[in-house]
């Protein structure tokens, strides 16, 4: 919402400075975005007098001037039609920054004659639209003084209005708030009651009173829309960024911003028959004044004549029956439309307008007759014409809105003592009708321009606003004991997992919860719904991600494109499998691409492989205190993984994690040529510790005897799984075997085609005494038997 200082002073009698006004606006909740003071651009400009004016020797329209800037006479070439000897204007000496051109003025040479400065138009100074000639100041203006001191400078305020303060979308409302805050006096509104001399030939009928309770029409005949909009009005509209179009349009715009009162003017000669306010028919055509065509629906309110919808009620006028320069007879509409209807239609057809903006929030239901009179007065004053009687459909009557405030609430809700008298004063200044009940409560009847006052809390806010939030003395929250654990076990372990993965060399990233359906399709799992956004911000961010991997892969791709080929990223965040609340799961996912490091003199750089991401997955599960040692490993990872190089860590049916190399055809779709290794740990599937579980660790049993490591190698079929060898060995003698490690894997020469050799190192832990050679032999034989039985292999000789 923008307005100028002079506009504000139209309603507010105040001596306050621009800074004081700006500070107060912010303090009372009308936050100042910007104050633009055109004077700030007028540095260097001075008043000057044209001492001598003759024709340029080489031009039929340029003049050669001698300009007195108070210090000296300067030669200036000037092309303005209104320049003449004796004129006092605004002079820009060489070196001045001209706001309109954003350039510093230099010594010019125009048709062979040097020019040492310029006399300026309003437009050039950025203080108005007029560029037909140079500014003419009154003859008694002192020469050589700063132009900012004598020009009618009108600073512009830009404030943001919260949705509850609809009346402040008009300068009148802002003025009232400032007056209530003690910054001046609100001037009385002077609107003449205009009586018509004839009955309106256009009648109005409302079919839907829910959407439009009141419609005040007025016929004005014999107007002149070719008349000039008065300069003051034009200047104000220009200052707030509106273009002056014609007096009739300018007047409606002006009143919209002056009183937050939308209006519409029809060219009455173009209307066929009477006005009916009704819901549009399905598919009914409407062409807006922006020349866009809409097929309306039965929830759109139309202002119609016999030829159809001519105006989308309260939102936008139509192209066909609007005013033009030739307009002679007009029909003025001042109506009330209900916010629900306006909001629905505006949103549905995506039409924004100043009118919609105001109706959607709140328009004073008692401002129809008043607004009609206000506009009529201006139209007659500017364009002339003869006025009909008002044509009123519906009624302005509306229920009183009453709220009560217990004065003690100020203390026990806000924490500040305010006397009843002070409360009454504030509310009265804001336009409430205030009285005190027998029980001390303050009764406040809302002014009709306030649609937001529902109860006590609203009145409290009004009082606090005016008292000033800064006057509340802060008080720390009371707490009398040690804080208890802040995080739930699930939240706590999520943090531990993040730190563990970062500690393992992965960079934590955060990516959008959305992703590209074209990529996401490869990562959706069976039975999962596609969760699409109805209105994505970009076509490639249109789906709630079914996996964290696509965005990580895109991240890797971008890094590789920037020349960073070794990428290790992880993210802990949600994956979505349905469109309803809760159909999401928390995943710690990561990818590794490239090498462990760039090549290094120690020769330790190596390509990432499946065992890096398997380790990541296991580390995450372990950090979450999950059962990582008991987890089974199966090879049925989703199809976006490499079928032969991926695995699932699970507890029965419950998937704890997927890991492995990604399927090359999937990574290729994303544009990655490299092998990519990935893991996804399903945090919600890792069992949480039971509430009652003690934090005490299992008792540590230490043997006093040295353990013995023994190596065995087996030749097994290639398809035999390493885990089967390890498990068979481990379970061969549970009491003594504490660890089994694979230390060599061999395929190739000296072995049949379909065989491989797996060498294991087994740790035997004596319990009561050291092993004899014989005992060890027996134990080794047990391991050999167990492995051979399980795998069908044999000891390698």
């Amino acid at each position: 919402m923008k307005f100028t200082l002079s506009w504000l002073k139209e309603h507010l009698d105040t001596q306050a400075s621009v800074d004081e006004i700006a500070e107060t606006l912010t303090k009372i909740g009308l936050e100042v975005e910007e104050v633009f003071n055109p004077a700030s651009n007028l540095k260097g400009f001075v008043t000057a007098k044209v001492e001598n004016c003759e024709m340029h020797p080489d031009s039929d329209h340029l003049h050669l001037l001698s300009v007195n800037d108070g210090k000296q006479n300067l030669q200036v070439v000037c092309g303005a039609p209104n320049v003449r000897q004796g004129l006092i204007g605004v002079f820009a000496p060489v070196g001045t920054l001209i706001p309109c051109y954003k350039e510093v003025l230099k010594v010019g040479k125009i048709r062979g004659v040097e020019s040492f400065g310029m006399l300026c138009s309003e437009k050039e100074l950025g203080i108005g639209e007029d560029h037909t000639g140079i500014i003419e100041l009154p003859q008694d203006t002192k020469v050589g003084v700063p132009a900012a001191d004598v020009l009618p400078i009108d600073p512009v305020f830009d404030i943001s209005i919260t949705p509850n303060r609809a009346e402040c979308l008009g300068v009148r409302g802002v003025s009232r708030d400032l007056a209530a805050a003690g910054l001046g006096k609100l001037k009385p509104l002077e609107i003449r009651k205009i009586s018509g001399t004839f009955a309106s030939p256009v009648k109005v009928k409302i079919e839907d009173f829910d959407a439009c309770p009141t419609y005040v029409g007025r016929y004005i005949r014999g107007v002149n829309n070719k008349a000039q909009t008065p300069k003051w009005m034009k200047d104000r509209l220009t200052a707030i960024g509106l273009r002056s179009i014609s007096p009739l349009v300018d007047i409606t715009n002006y009143i919209n911003y002056d009183m937050a009162r939308p209006l519409h003017v029809f060219d009455a000669d173009k209307l066929k028959g009477n006005i009916t306010v009704r819901m549009a028919k399905e598919g009914e055509k409407f062409i807006s004044l922006e020349e866009k065509e809409y097929a309306l629906d039965s929830k759109s309110l139309g202002i119609c004549d016999d030829e159809g919808v001519q105006c989308l009620g309260g939102i936008m006028g139509g192209q066909e029956k609007g005013c033009s320069d030739e307009t002679q007879n007009v029909f003025l509409e001042c109506a009330l439309f209900k916010p629900e209807c306006i909001a629905r239609t505006g949103r549905h057809f995506q039409i924004d307008s100043d009118s919609r903006y105001r109706y959607e929030r709140w328009v004073d239901p008692k401002s129809n007759v008043l607004g009609s009179d206000y506009a009529t007065q201006m139209i007659v004053d500017i364009c002339g014409g003869e006025v009909s009687e008002m044509e009123i459909a519906g009624s302005e009557d509306c229920a009183e809105r009453v709220a009560y405030l217990r004065p003690e609430r100020m203390k026990n809700f806000v924490g500040i003592d305010v006397s009843s008298d002070k409360i009454i004063e504030i509310l009265t200044n804001l336009g409430f009708k205030v009285s005190v009940e027998a029980d001390g409560r303050i009764k406040a009847i809302s002014p009709t321009w306030r649609g937001d006052i529902e109860g006590e809390h609203d009145l409290v806010e009004e009082v606090v606003r005016m008292i000033g939030l800064d006057n509340i003395v802060p008080e720390s929250l009371p707490h009398d004991k040690l804080p208890h654990q802040v995080l739930t076990p699930a939240q706590q372990r999520m943090l531990t997992v993040k730190h563990e993965l970062a500690n393992r060399g992965l960079l934590e990233t955060v990516t959008w919860s959305f992703t590209d359906s074209n990529i996401a399709q490869y990562f959706r799992r069976q039975n999962d719904d596609v969760v699409l956004l109805m209105n994505p911000i970009a076509a490639d961010l249109n789906e709630m991600r079914p996996s964290v991997l696509p965005n990580l892969l895109l991240g890797a791709k971008n890094n590789i494109a920037r020349g960073y080929g070794n990428v290790a990223l992880f993210e802990v965040g949600p994956e979505f499998f349905g469109r309803k609340p809760g159909q999401q799961t928390l995943v710690a996912g990561g990818i590794r691409v490239g090498q462990t490091s760039k090549k290094h003199w120690t020769g330790e750089a190596r390509a990432y492989d499946v065992f890096d991401v398997k380790a990541d997955a296991l580390a995450a599960i372990a950090a979450a205190n999950g059962p990582f040692e008991n987890a089974q490993i199966t090879t049925d990872a989703p199809a976006y993984y490499h079928p032969g190089r991926s695995g699932v860590l699970r507890l029965g049916k419950n998937v704890l994690a997927y890991f492995g190399e990604l399927h090359p055809s999937v990574t290729k779709k994303i544009g990655l040529k490299q092998r990519v290794y990935a893991f996804e740990v399903y945090m919600d599937n890792i069992p949480l510790p039971r509430d009652a579980q003690s934090k005490a660790k299992k008792k540590l049993e230490l043997s006093q005897f040295q353990p013995v490591d023994k190596d065995l190698a087996f030749v097994v079929d290639k398809k035999v799984k390493a885990i089967d060898v390890i498990t068979a060995a481990k379970t061969a003698d549970r009491n003594t075997i504490t660890d089994v490690r694979i230390f060599d894997l061999y395929e190739g020469e000296n072995l049949p085609e379909n065989k491989k050799s797996i060498a294991i190192s087994v740790t035997f832990q004596p319990q009561e005494k050291t092993f004899s050679d014989q005992e060890l032999d027996v134990l080794m034989k047990k391991v050999e038997m167990a492995v051979c039985n399980k795998t069908g292999g044999q000891l390698r000789s």
Partner: protein, 367 residues
């Protein structure tokens, strides 16, 4: 009687002349070996008289001890020399770089989460959570924002598509604010309530300070005697602790949120220059959060009697806090997974936030 003095001098000379272990061993054998000079003299004692034997034996023993000591001493010298020579051959270039050690980083948003949790934890708050996809009720209606409320347009909401219908269906949205967790908390928990709810939020907007996804932390305090003075105290305590400043100018401006009344926005003091933004005393103000007293309709929607309980709520951007505290200029970069950015603005994994141990050590040195 043999004069041992000459022999002693001769042997000691030989010992000190031995320049390696082999030569020294030769000297030892020549003196003390089976046929060594001292051994020979010892053997010849048997031919002497008792008196002579006694005297000579004593002399020879002294000689033997002296020579052995000299041999030991020389041996130690030679051993040290030999070790020094060996070490001299083992020299390596210690300026060579160490083996590559990869260290990951914690994202600034996670770090801020931990800092915020640490501070509010100290004030007795717990961390609550809610889903990213919300229904109309929790995201809007229960928060006193019925359909067609203009406040719904304050936030550009993303709606979830109904795959069974082509019509506009606004049943489900991705939450536009973490305030929905207020309602979910009140549904589950009776007052007194003191929670913060950090999480992802979504609005259709994209520039240097707005992204379609960002992070908020919501706060909710409900009890019988909580006033706006507590709201101010709590938030003032928070910003001072968060920015690690003893003094921080703040101001509150009346504002509007459908779910609070009175509502306010809080600004903190700052100094803006062309090149930097310094939080603290200065001429400028920086908006940091929105807050207010919980609207009675919201309490009712959460099943709490507004005549018995009252309280305050607030919401602020975690990413914005990160930008302000750690001087990160552009919000969009948070979500770009640029490894250079993650290494630069990320935090070492062992830098854990707490009020007693410190909120952060500024990320640690980058390795």
């Amino acid at each position: 009687m043999v004069d041992t003095t000459q022999l002693k001098n001769e042997l000691l000379q030989n010992v000190s002349a031995a320049q390696d272990m082999k030569a020294l061993e030769d000297v030892r054998v020549a003196a003390l070996g089976k046929k060594g000079k001292i051994t020979e003299l010892m053997k010849s004692l048997s031919s002497l008289s008792v008196e002579e034997k006694k005297e000579m034996g004593k002399k020879l023993n002294i000689l033997k001890t002296e020579i052995e000591a000299a041999l030991d001493k020389q041996k130690a010298i030679l051993e040290e020399k030999e070790l020094n020579e060996k070490l001299a051959h083992e020299v390596i270039d210690v300026t060579l770089p160490i083996r590559p050690e990869v260290q990951g980083r914690i994202h600034p948003v996670s770090k801020i989460y931990e800092e915020v949790v640490a501070i509010f934890g100290q004030m007795g708050f717990e961390v609550a959570e809610g889903p990213d996809i919300e229904d109309q009720f929790h995201n809007f209606n229960a928060l006193n924002t019925p359909a067609n409320h203009p406040a719904r347009q304050m936030q550009d909401t993303f709606y979830i598509k109904n795959l069974e219908s082509d019509d506009f269906d606004d049943s489900y949205v991705v939450r536009t604010q973490t305030s929905s967790v207020q309602i979910r908390t009140m549904e589950k928990q009776c007052p007194p309530i003191r929670i913060i709810a950090p999480g992802r939020t979504y609005r259709s907007d994209y520039d240097a300070t707005h992204t379609p996804m960002f992070h908020q932390v919501e706060g909710l305090v409900i009890d019988k005697n909580i006033t706006m003075a507590h709201l101010k105290g709590c938030l003032y305590d928070f910003v001072k602790a968060f920015f690690e400043l003893d003094e921080l100018p703040v101001r509150y401006r009346p504002s509007y949120f459908p779910f609070t009344e009175p509502s306010a926005e809080m600004d903190i003091g700052c100094l803006k220059t062309k090149t930097e933004l310094k939080i603290g005393a200065g001429d400028d103000w920086l908006e940091i959060l929105g807050c207010g007293m919980v609207h009675p309709n919201v309490l009712k929607a959460g099943g709490i009697d507004p005549d018995e309980y009252q309280g305050f709520a607030f919401g602020m951007g975690l990413d914005r806090l990160a930008m302000l505290k750690y001087g990160i200029p552009d919000l969009r970069t948070f979500f770009e997974s640029d490894v250079r950015w993650l290494k630069h603005y990320g935090f070492v994994p062992l830098d854990v936030s707490s009020m007693t141990g410190g909120l952060s050590n500024n990320g640690g040195a980058q390795r």
